[in-house]
């Protein structure tokens, strides 16, 4: 009875809205047809498809091929093609060549990519920046790869800064990105596969992997997942990341998003799969574990003791940024006996004039810190760095002098805030910063008991997380053979295996010398 009631209620509120959409059946029908032998008819068709002359950058140029003595036209999008190339290698030879030869391929110096007849196919290619040549009385259309898209060059990595090691980062041009990976892995087994994932914008995703390493089931799983999207457009890789994730509402990321080609290459060499997309200056690494998100490429570039030292610092920073504020609240509110007398006296003395309970105090400062951080990010770059430091200093100093917060809280917040910067992965960073607030509430309600309880529940949750079938804490728990590169990294000579959770075709990376 009750079930039924809820069900009907649910139905009532969650109906899918119906829209009266304009039918595009005619267009779809048109795109399925082949091109016409009649020159005039073809011009009409494509003028209609590309809305010429309303669409200013779609150009049609009509001319006569002198050697064949027939009329022809080329159509292209002027902003996406190399105009010089079109002029010099396609148009000029066609007009000026006088020797009578029968074939277009022999006249034009630019290589013909392919010949096609389907209108839909041609349209799709034109939108990519190719030039299409139509000749009177010819049922084939000649397609030239003249694409030249403007973009930024290869620059230094901005978000994952390291001291030692390669500095270059992915940019928005797909060809560059693939080249960056290829130049690190010079192997014919490195496969770059294209997949179109959306219907309207026709965004394509490149799947990069090593054929003789990656487990076929994993590859199939990812391909199936990519094929399953029913959406018009996915503009960016970061949006694709959200489509791909098993738990998009989860606090913790399960896919590694990096802008460093060296990092991508090292993951490919281990048997992971990397996704690239045009217009996105980064790549996705699947599957990703907690360790992949937690490590930094610098750990490996530095000598083993130094690398492990910064690992250790990062672990410490992780715990400090998670627990510093909650620990402070728990201790000052519930477990006063834990504080050494001198510190307790100092804290009590400085808290005496503060009007708020310590939970409110901490929350206020945490919020202020997050505000400064976000503001520093959004502020136009010329005033950016100054406003961050000045804002923090003034806010801290003035708040203490105005007796709104106690100086110890500033130390706690500064420490936990600073530590959170050490976790380099931006998604992981957010996860830690947000769970910190949960811990603060838990500490405010139940003291250390609450912190411990939430910590245990959180650990349960993390262990249950999966990234494309891989447990979040693998290979530590569940245990797999691996390079043993978890909390502490061994010397490179000892890392003999690829991660076992990927079940790679070739498990052994190096044999014992």
């Amino acid at each position: 009875m009750r079930k039924k009631f809820f069900k009907s209620l649910n139905k009532k509120f969650n109906t899918e809205p119906q829209f009266s959409e304009q039918s595009n059946a005619k267009d779809i029908e048109l795109k399925k047809q082949d091109i016409n032998l009649h020159y005039e008819r073809n011009i009409e068709t494509f003028k209609a498809i590309f809305s010429i002359p309303k669409n200013v950058d779609v150009k049609i140029r009509e001319f006569t091929i002198r050697s064949l003595k027939c009329r022809a036209f080329i159509i292209y999008i002027s902003t996406m093609v190399d105009m010089d190339q079109v002029q010099k290698s396609i148009v000029e030879p066609l007009i000026e060549n006088e020797q009578p030869t029968g074939k277009i391929q022999d006249i034009v110096s630019f290589p013909v990519a392919k010949m096609t007849t389907n209108i839909g196919d041609i349209t799709e290619n034109i939108t990519r920046g190719i030039t299409a040549l139509f000749v009177d009385d010819d049922d084939q259309c000649y397609i030239f790869e003249t694409t030249k898209i403007q973009g930024r060059g290869i620059e230094k990595s901005n978000n994952e800064v390291i001291v030692k090691g390669a500095k270059e980062a992915f940019n928005e041009r797909l060809a560059d990105n693939i080249a960056l990976v290829r130049k690190k892995i010079k192997n014919e087994n490195l496969i770059v596969e294209a997949h179109v994932v959306t219907k309207r914008s026709r965004n394509d995703v490149l799947i990069v992997y090593e054929k003789d390493l990656v487990k076929d089931e994993l590859l199939q799983k990812i391909k199936d997942r990519l094929a399953s999207f029913e959406t018009d457009s996915i503009l960016d890789l970061s949006i694709l990341e959200q489509y791909l994730e098993e738990r998009p509402r989860s606090l913790f990321p399960t896919i590694l998003n990096t802008e460093r080609p060296d990092r991508a290459a090292s993951f490919i060499e281990e048997g992971h799969i990397v996704l690239l997309m045009s217009n996105s200056p980064n790549c996705l690494v699947l599957p990703a574990t907690f360790w992949a998100l937690f490590h930094s490429p610098e750990d490996h570039y530095l000598r083993t003791p130094y690398g492990n030292f910064i690992r250790f610092l990062r672990v410490l920073a992780l715990f400090i940024s998670l627990f510093a504020s909650s620990f402070y609240i728990a201790i000052t509110n519930y477990h006063v006996g834990m504080i050494p007398p001198d510190l307790l006296m100092a804290m009590a003395g400085s808290r005496e004039r503060v009007p708020f309970p310590s939970v409110v105090e901490i929350l206020m400062m945490e919020l202020a810190f997050e505000l400064i951080r976000e503001a520093g990010l959004r502020v136009p770059s010329p005033i950016g760095p100054t406003i961050g430091i000045v804002g923090a200093l003034i806010l801290g100093q003035a708040a203490v002098q105005a007796n709104i917060i106690s100086p110890i809280v500033i130390i706690v917040i500064a420490l936990s805030g600073l530590s959170s910067f050490i976790i380099s992965d931006s998604s992981m960073n957010f996860a830690i910063r947000m769970s910190r607030f949960l811990f603060i509430f838990a500490a405010g309600l139940l003291g250390i008991y609450g912190v411990a309880a939430l910590g245990i529940v959180g650990l349960f949750y993390l262990v249950s997380l999966k990234s494309f079938g891989t447990s979040y804490f693998a290979p530590m728990t569940p245990h797999f053979f691996s390079g043993k590169d978890l909390l502490i990294r061994p010397v490179p000579m000892k890392a003999m295996f690829r991660p076992g959770y990927l079940k790679p075709k070739d498990m052994v990376k190096q044999r014992k010398g």
Binding site: V336, I339, A453
Partner: protein
């Protein structure tokens, strides 16, 4: 549907958890007033005690730079109450903040109350209070505890918790006062066999005290003059079965501390009679105890025999007779003298305690237990009675690690 179910479950879980525990006893730390010292005295009213609380003012001395206050560093209140637990509430009639025993460092009991047969029942309340920690120290003062706290006006450490912390820490390190935590007090009382030593303190200096040998003083007898506080921590009060029965001097206390393996006495300085000719009758040495004592017993027969070997290391700190210690002969002489001195002093002290207070001033009975197969046998042996007839032999295992600077006589 599934969602509602999960939410209901989570809510139920939260309700259960929060009914078990929660922020009900949450208290901001500045809302409390911290008792550093607790004084207990006999009250003129029957069944009551006089409770004295020494409260620290957290504002004094805690602020760097500006914002320092002109308030007094401490507050002292005395009143009559049935026990010192309920006294917390009574004290709130006078003190603005919630009284807390979280930082309780020292419980000072007047000699008068400590000798009261009821004393143990009064102090036993400390076991039940969650805030009082078992590492608080028990001290006995000759005068009233209420008077003691009033008279105690340290010149250097105005903050009381710091004063007591330093005073007790260093006193124990030097061996002049025993490590008399509440834990040891209750443990000794429960075992019922040995004596417990509480530190002896006094804030009233005796008028014209007699000069005695090195450290042979009770609290208040050290004749010091100058611009200082009169409070002294030296010597110990002896408790049997939770009631005070007598006192030991500073020197006797330090001897007990060397014999007791359960305290942490690392090293202390000592005067030892000079075996070499010269005007100076004694030389200074640093005594270091790094290993546990070896205790052997022969518990058969009417008079049990107890052999204690002290493995001690020495550093010679002064050489009044300008002896050349590079010579083997001189080394032997000083070693023998130290061993002799330690044997005499230790045996003298142990015999005195055995005769006067009828027990061992440190948990010696623990060593005796291993000589019995069952508890019944041990009980039948009756340590308390048998110990009175025991012969105790102390032997010092002297090892001199450093003879000090080798001096050369002029002209050599």
């Amino acid at each position: 549907m599934k969602k509602t179910k999960t939410i209901c479950r989570i809510l139920l879980l939260l309700v259960i958890v929060f009914s078990l525990t929660g922020c009900w006893d949450r208290e901001e730390l500045e809302d409390r007033s911290y008792v550093i010292g607790l004084g207990l005295d006999r009250s003129p009213y029957k069944g009551k005690i006089k409770v004295t609380m020494l409260l620290a003012n957290p504002e004094v001395g805690s602020m760097q730079g500006g914002g320092g206050s002109t308030e007094k560093p401490r507050e002292i209140i005395s009143f009559d109450a049935s026990d010192f637990i309920v006294a917390k509430v009574t004290a709130n009639a006078i003190i603005s903040r919630l009284i807390s025993y979280d930082l309780l460092k020292i419980i000072v009991v007047s000699e008068e109350l400590a000798k009261d047969p009821n004393f143990f029942h009064i102090i036993y309340g400390a076991v039940y209070d969650k805030e009082i920690r078992m590492n608080a120290y028990l001290a006995v003062s000759e005068e009233m505890a209420s008077e003691y706290f009033l008279k105690n006006r340290p010149k250097m450490e105005t903050r009381p918790h710091k004063y007591f912390q330093y005073m007790i820490e260093h006193g124990i390190e030097n061996g002049l006062i025993p490590d008399s935590t509440l834990l040891r007090f209750f443990k000794t009382k429960e075992s019922g066999t040995d004596l417990f030593l509480a530190m002896n303190t006094s804030a009233v200096r005796k008028k014209n005290p007699k000069f005695k040998g090195e450290n042979e003083y009770y609290a208040g007898q050290v004749d010091a003059t100058g611009e200082m506080d009169d409070t002294q921590f030296i010597g110990s009060a002896v408790f049997r079965n939770g009631v005070m029965i007598g006192k030991l001097t500073g020197q006797e206390t330090s001897i007990v501390n060397t014999l007791d393996d359960t305290t942490n006495i690392n090293d202390f300085l000592l005067n030892i009679p000079n075996p070499f000719p010269g005007k100076q009758k004694s030389f200074a040495a640093r005594v270091m105890k790094r290993e546990n004592n070896k205790v052997k017993m022969n518990l058969k027969g009417p008079g049990p025999k107890i052999f204690i070997t002290l493995p001690l290391k020495f550093e010679i700190m002064s050489n009044p007779s300008m002896v050349d210690f590079s010579k083997k002969k001189n080394q032997e002489i000083i070693k023998k003298e130290i061993a002799r001195h330690f044997k005499i002093e230790h045996e003298k002290m142990l015999r005195k305690v055995q005769r006067e207070f009828k027990g061992a001033p440190f948990p010696l009975s623990y060593n005796a237990r291993k000589y019995f197969g069952t508890i019944q046998e041990y009980k039948k042996f009756n340590w308390n009675k048998s110990y009175l007839n025991a012969d105790i032999y102390v032997k010092a295992d002297v090892e001199i690690v450093d003879y000090g600077r080798v001096t050369k006589k002029a002209g050599n």
